[in-house]
Amino acid sequence: MGSNGRTRRAWLGGIALAAFAIGGSQVLAVAAREVTGPPGLPSQGAGAELVRARREQALIRAEGTVTMLHALRSAPTLPGAGR
């Protein structure tokens, strides 16, 4: 009886381990697919491209501040300059 119980527990443990392993591998497969990306979705190189695009767009938006600093260089003294 004691031996039967151990056997059953061993079987149950084995089944649970197998289920966990299969489930885990499925999770890993999904995670791996998200990292590499299926065809048509951004690849790893797209990550670097995104960094570049974000920089570009931010710095292009900053062009207004460049124009205003240029205006400072060429500006004559304006009202209130002496305080």
């Binding site: 979705l41 920089r55 570009e56 710095l59 460049v66 600093l69 260089r73 300059a81």
Partner: protein, 321 residues
Amino acid sequence: MRPGANQLALAGVALLALSLAGLPMFLRGDEASGSVRGVVLDGRGFGVADAAVFLFDEGRLQLREETRTTSAGDFAFHLGTARARVFVRPPESSRLLPAWGPPEEDAPERLALVLRAARRLTVEVRDLDGSPVDGAEVRVYERRAEAVALVLAETDRRGRAALVAPALADVAVFAPDEPHLARWRFDCAVPEEGAELSFTLPPAVRVRGRILGDSGALAGIAVVAWEADREDGWNGFALSDGEGDFALPITSAPTVVRAFDPSGKYLSARASCESPPDAPLALHMIRGSSLSVQVVRDGAVLPSRVWSWTPDSAAWSVNCT
């Protein structure tokens, strides 16, 4: 009194009432349109005295008024402006960085501008032969909530410029001659003791092009040119004009030209060239479909930046918030 005199008296009273009512309304209107005030502080919370403070109209990119801070660091402007933006330049002796106030839509009623410690940055610019480049424009940008240009300078006859910079900066150098080729260093860490950067500006030519959409030329499209596979090789950028035309500096190296629509209606486009093309470039942009994205966590909607990838042109669209 005669009827004519009565009418005259009544008209006079009405005119007086109108002028009395109109004067405060006029004054109130002027104040509401933007009397900007605030304080300039250092990192310890002390007021920065004698800093130059500039009031810009950000819509027109025009300087409106200029003042200096009091001994307590306070400042106030008297003129109103539609889209007020403040820039502070502290005295050189303070060893503090200049700073921009927030855009008007994010600005509180009374501004508090905290200036951080400035770090020394020396930039040296040479051409491909190793000769110093005189008159190159050097720009120091800071990227925090938004990117801003903090400092502009020009190289001297030795090809050198001395500036101040934050601890982390983007630095750009623009050639003095047409077509003003640029070279960049992104995310430059500037240590407390200062840093020195060297740039090399290769020769470049101006290449023209046109942005075309489904129904003709597109205006207001941002176009960028990069030397392929060079981290610092952002040659420059331009906006297409009313005819869809643009011009960009291109070197003799392989180059990628990308176009994106700041309004987010058109998908990004890309063109590659091994050397400067003889004929004008033509970039065709396809109008994208509208896509709504909502990011939710625990039932609450999160404000997010969303980008979309266009596989055909291998480019990202403008992000939307």
